[in-house]
């Protein structure tokens, strides 16, 4: 054991470390600096910090016991799934421990008749769909990181994914969770039964709470029957604007595919240059990837409508396939787009904003201008059907000036979205990244109500303190919700 590890144990207290090891075994307690360094940030790489200790329980009972020890030690806790989050929600905090779900990977039950599954929180998203595939069922939320991200993390961030257009984000699919509170008590929130019975819906606020209301150790999710027919359409455009306008038109005409995604030219080039090569044509300025699911006749009718609209908006080519292998290849390109962009620059700032679907073109233009003016490389890949944009800005974190320009561009994009009636985040969460920007959307009264709700779950501020809600009041941050009149200058 090295000096750093010894020092940590002294801060934490040898008694507490011994107790943690007794509960979860030696492999479940990480105190040495090398092991803890793997947990210093999540996918939001601009900020990092060291946890005092990382603890990896294997069960709800172990997690509850761990919480009691950490509480006794005077630490606060950051819950963590796979660490794929992109807003800093899983970044450690000072005097804080990480409690991770990496060793909680069991699918506990798949109920075919009642169409639900119960899993440990560390089950990887795509593994759940694999586990229920044999039953003719699937789990709908499919974040791009689904081969790594966990169900518990999905609950924390109310994760979305391309198919959220039809099926909605995680909150529409979670039936219940097992929650460990700050006393180490275990609470069942929700159930496979349809509605809360004589009680408030505690599950609603828990989903998307970014680990601030408790530690989710088990999740019960709704499963859906696999659709009879699935088609994937690839539509090619000479202009990103036209591609955006075609999506707005589909929404306005109430066409109902299950996913509508857009990738721009830089993204296409990155994907095609990577191992995820999907066969996206290099001569397109933008591609639209559309999935249509349902009965065969429904799918045929919707696909025909989609093709008619994209032709009207200038698509110069389109393909339509129901071949599983070809569909898989087309989607692998989309889902691997973030990874493929690693070829462009060492770091990637993945913005996550939402615009009203009538104003897609306008926000994309704002992002393009903001990056061009700051000499930044921008690639767009986004859930167009939901208005959920991901302007991806490439940068090198070793260049402080470039980092500053990236953050400035990110803020401009956020403000433009909020001014247009949009929001700060569609699926990545607020975390640390957008904490102060919460005041663009909410005022002090709104945030006070959120704080009050949080305190009802966690009166001592044990879970992930200092995230999501601005630490300072909006008046102190010198901002107020956009569109609400002149800015106050503060006291």
């Amino acid at each position: 054991m090295g000096r750093t590890a010894k020092a940590t144990e002294q801060r934490l207290g040898d008694r507490h470390v011994r107790e943690l090891r007794r509960i979860v075994g030696d492999r479940g307690v990480r105190t040495d600096a090398m092991a803890r360094s793997a947990y210093e940030s999540d996918g939001f790489m601009l900020q990092s910090a060291a946890a005092e200790v990382v603890v990896l329980p294997r069960s709800t009972a172990e997690a509850a016991a761990v919480v009691r020890v950490l509480r006794d030690a005077g630490l606060v806790v950051v819950p963590r799934g796979a660490g794929t989050g992109l807003s800093g929600g899983a970044r450690p905090i000072e005097r804080g421990a990480i409690v991770g779900t990496a060793r909680m990977r069991d699918v506990l039950e798949v109920n075919e008749v009642d169409r639900y599954a119960r899993v440990q929180a560390g089950v990887v998203n795509v593994h759940l769909t694999a586990a229920c595939s044999g039953h003719g069922l699937f789990y709908a939320p499919d974040p791009s990181s689904q081969t790594a991200c966990t169900l518990g993390g999905n609950v924390g961030n109310n994760s979305g994914g391309p198919h959220g257009f039809k099926y909605g984000s995680t909150s529409r699919h979670v039936l219940g969770v097992t929650l460990v509170d700050s006393e180490g008590e275990i609470t069942e929130v929700g159930s496979p039964l349809p509605d809360p019975c004589g009680a408030y819906d505690l599950l609603g606020p828990v989903v998307g709470s970014e680990g601030m209301l408790g530690l989710v150790t088990e999740v019960t999710v709704k499963l859906l029957p696999k659709p009879d027919t699935v088609e994937t359409l690839l539509c090619l455009f000479e202009s990103l604007d036209a591609c955006c306008d075609a999506v707005s038109e589909m929404i306005a005409r109430r066409v109902e595919p299950s996913a509508i995604e857009i990738l721009d030219r830089l993204t296409i080039e990155a994907v095609e240059a990577s191992v995820l090569r999907a066969g996206y044509p290099a001569n397109a300025e933008a591609v639209m990837l559309v999935e249509v699911e349902g009965g065969a006749d429904e799918v045929a009718a919707i696909s025909e409508d989609v093709l008619a609209i994209v032709r009207d908006f200038g698509a110069f080519d389109s393909r339509r396939t129901s071949d599983p292998q070809e569909r898989k290849r087309l989607w692998a390109g989309r889902k691997g787009a973030f990874g493929a962009m690693g070829r462009i620059a060492p770091d990637l700032y993945v913005a996550d904003v939402v615009a009203p679907r009538t104003r897609l073109r306008e926000i994309v233009a704002t992002a393009t201008r903001a990056c061009r003016e700051r000499n930044l490389k921008l690639a767009n890949v986004f859930h167009a059907g939901d208005g959920n944009l991901h302007p991806n800005i490439s940068y090198d974190r070793r260049d402080p000036d470039e980092v500053a320009r990236v953050l400035e561009a990110g803020r401009i994009i956020m403000e433009a979205c909020v001014e247009a009636g949009g929001s700060l985040t569609g699926e990545h969460g607020v975390g640390l990244e957008k904490q102060d920007e919460m005041c663009l959307v909410f005022d002090d009264d709104d945030l006070a109500a959120m704080n009050a709700m949080r305190s009802a779950f966690d009166p001592v501020g044990f879970w992930n303190p200092g995230k999501m809600l601005p630490v300072r009041g909006c008046r102190e941050i010198h901002t107020k919700p956009l569109g609400s009149g002149p800015q106050e200058t503060g006291a």
Partner: protein
Amino acid sequence: MSPIETATRAANVCDALGIELDPAGGPSGAPLARPRDEAELTRLLQRVANETDPPRLAPLGGGTSVHWCRPEQARGDAPTLFVSTRSMVEASGGSGIVEYVPGDGTLTALGGTALDDLRAAVDEGGHRITPALRGASTIGGTLAAGLSGPDRVAFGPSRHHVLGMRVVDGAGRRARSGGRLVKNVTGFDLHRLHVGARGTLGFVVEVSLRLTPAPESEALLSSEPLATDAEAVELALALRADRRLAPRMLFVKDRVVHTLLAGRARQVDVERAVWAEHATPRDAFDGDAAEDRALALAERDPALRIQTTPSRVVSAVRALGLASTDGLVVEPDAALVDVPRALVEGDVPRWTDEVLPALDAVGARVEPRAPFGDAVGEALDGAIESRIALSGPRATIMRRLVEAFDPAHVLAIEGFPAGLSIRP
């Protein structure tokens, strides 16, 4: 406090604040305050919350779920002053619709807007609202009552379609959560907390909803009456299990299975043929008449709601042991069984002694939708409440929520959340 004293006190509060009062405009002739806007409502709540012995304020929308929200079960014997949310719509001089964006498929409306008005407005843009309910009920009241429509088999419960909300809590503090976007994870989902809270955490003053596209074609298919409800539910479960069908509504009423098919015309025709493999339709309605008729058939006013899972719903229906089941409605996918008052009244001892234990045995939960009132009924209420009463950390969280959002208990209902007493 006598009704006259209650009315006098309500009149004094409203007079002081310049708020219109209808002295007997509430349910059972109770006084009804009619604030013109959110500012008046806020002042009313602030004033009442600061009184030493405050009356209870009960939000009143269309008044259709008042019996279920149990306004008479106020804190202790505090008098109830009903507060209209409809009055804010009427005073606005408009329809109550704040914003309807057909191109984005979203709607924002004042909480006191009637469902029928919302349905009519979005119909012009080719949309439907979820929950698929109709009538004078308001959207705020419907959500506060936690009601979903028979379309939940296709779209899930109504709480899944609330994009954002503005509320005024029991201390007269305004708060907003969510927004008007179909996708948004900015901040905590406070609005989900208010859905089904029966107005005990605050007044729902504005709601944003995700809309669903009106289908190109619809057909309502109704079976012949089956011999028993259990058989009808088994047929409905077979329809649910047939992956070739994607019904918009599927429910059993009076031993008849009703299925609303909706979507593209070609698909509806295909599904109609699939449906016919399971049963012979007694009635079929197409076009606009299909949804109207389905909604009319699905209307109910249950005294008890039984919640279970699809795999147990037949057992739950059998556990009722009812000779006559007129008015019983079952939604097999959500696994809800709604029992009308007539099937319980006059048979309460059997419900208390036999039916509730039988439902326990099949893992079903029973929730009262209206108190029965008399001494025998109170025994049933008590037996149900003892089964669903909260305890442990969940009860603690809910108590803290009440303290956070209604510190003076001016919105509280005794026994809701189940098992929590707010009597001093």
